[in-house]
């Protein structure tokens, strides 16, 4: 085995990953919260009002980063699902399943904040157009993955079945992304572009970018915290998980059985 494979196997072993994720998660949560508060403050009080939408556009600072994350989380989930199915790596099954609820949370926030934004701007809470409908399908895919994972008794079989569903659902990701170009839709086109000029001014763009960073960090914090629980659940009978359980016990239960 070369050094990289060796490192991968070491990191991928449940007790090691449990420990590393446990060390990182609180810091990631902390950094994400600090950045998030800075971005919210910038979005609400520093950024100027939009010439067309007035203050209502401020919903962009929560809506757009969450929408990006809803796709990013799906990509991360599908990638891990792929690794889990091909190489049967336990940690990848756990990571794929841990990303589903976080991705679902981002998708839910995207849909709800979009709806709240749509009411004053479009005059409707909801419309069955391409962007909105495909994002709703994304939410159902996440819920399907979570549901399937909970429906099967054997944890590893459950993770593999749900991974398979996650992998099939990846076709929806480009549909969500390109829907505003492929179809006529009420939803506005992209505001921020990686390539070419963004349609937004500097005082508006920094809170958006800081929030984007915050949501990415939050995603990994939450996935780490969730995969720790997943590993404990999967390896409940193993020595290391028992040690964690006993170390965590309230004092009287520890003394009760030595």
């Amino acid at each position: 085995m070369n050094a990289l494979t060796l490192w991968f196997h070491k990191i991928g072993s449940p007790p090691t990953f449990y420990r590393i994720a446990g060390a990182w998660a609180p810091w990631l949560f902390g950094v994400a919260i600090v950045l998030g508060v800075v971005a919210l403050y910038g979005g609400l009080f520093v950024a100027p009002a939009d010439y067309q939408q007035g203050d209502a556009y401020r919903i962009i600072f929560v809506h757009v980063p969450c929408a990006w994350m809803s796709l990013f989380a799906y990509g991360f989930m599908a990638l891990n699902a792929f690794i889990a199915l091909v190489w049967r790596i336990k940690l990848s099954e756990i990571l794929a399943m841990a990303s589903a609820p976080v991705g679902a949370a981002f998708t839910l926030v995207t849909l709800v904040t979009g709806s709240i934004w749509g009411k004053p701007m479009w005059g409707t809470w909801w419309t069955w157009d391409a962007r909105l409908t495909s994002e709703l399908v994304l939410l159902f895919l996440y819920l399907g993955v979570i549901g399937l994972h909970n429906a099967i008794e054997d944890r590893r079989q459950a993770a593999r079945a749900a991974s398979f569903l996650a992998l099939i659902g990846i076709v929806n990701v480009p549909i969500v992304h390109f829907s505003v170009n492929w179809w006529n839709t009420l939803h506005q086109g992209s505001t921020v572009r990686l390539m070419g000029e963004s349609h937004i001014t500097g005082a508006m763009v920094w809170p958006l970018l800081v929030m984007t960073l915050a949501t990415h960090i939050w995603f990994f914090a939450s996935v780490f915290a969730r995969s720790r629980v997943g590993l404990l659940e999967l390896e409940g009978g193993k020595e290391w998980a028992r040690d964690v359980a006993l170390a965590d016990a309230p004092r009287d239960t520890v003394t009760a059985h030595g």
Partner: protein, 51 residues
């Protein structure tokens, strides 16, 4: 926030509430899983000590 105040604040509130739940959920399930593991250990210890 002008006439859109209600919309903006409710959108931000949804954002904060959903992620507060997202942060708390794994802590609660971790507690449950650890209690289950301890329960299993305790039952096994009881089986081994009983005649």
């Amino acid at each position: 926030m002008g006439k859109y105040g209600d919309y903006i604040w409710s959108a931000y509130a949804v954002f904060v509430i959903v992620f507060a739940i997202d942060a708390i959920a794994p802590r609660l399930s971790r507690r449950r899983v650890l209690a289950e593991i301890r329960g299993k250990l305790k039952r096994r210890a009881a089986r081994e000590t009983s005649p």
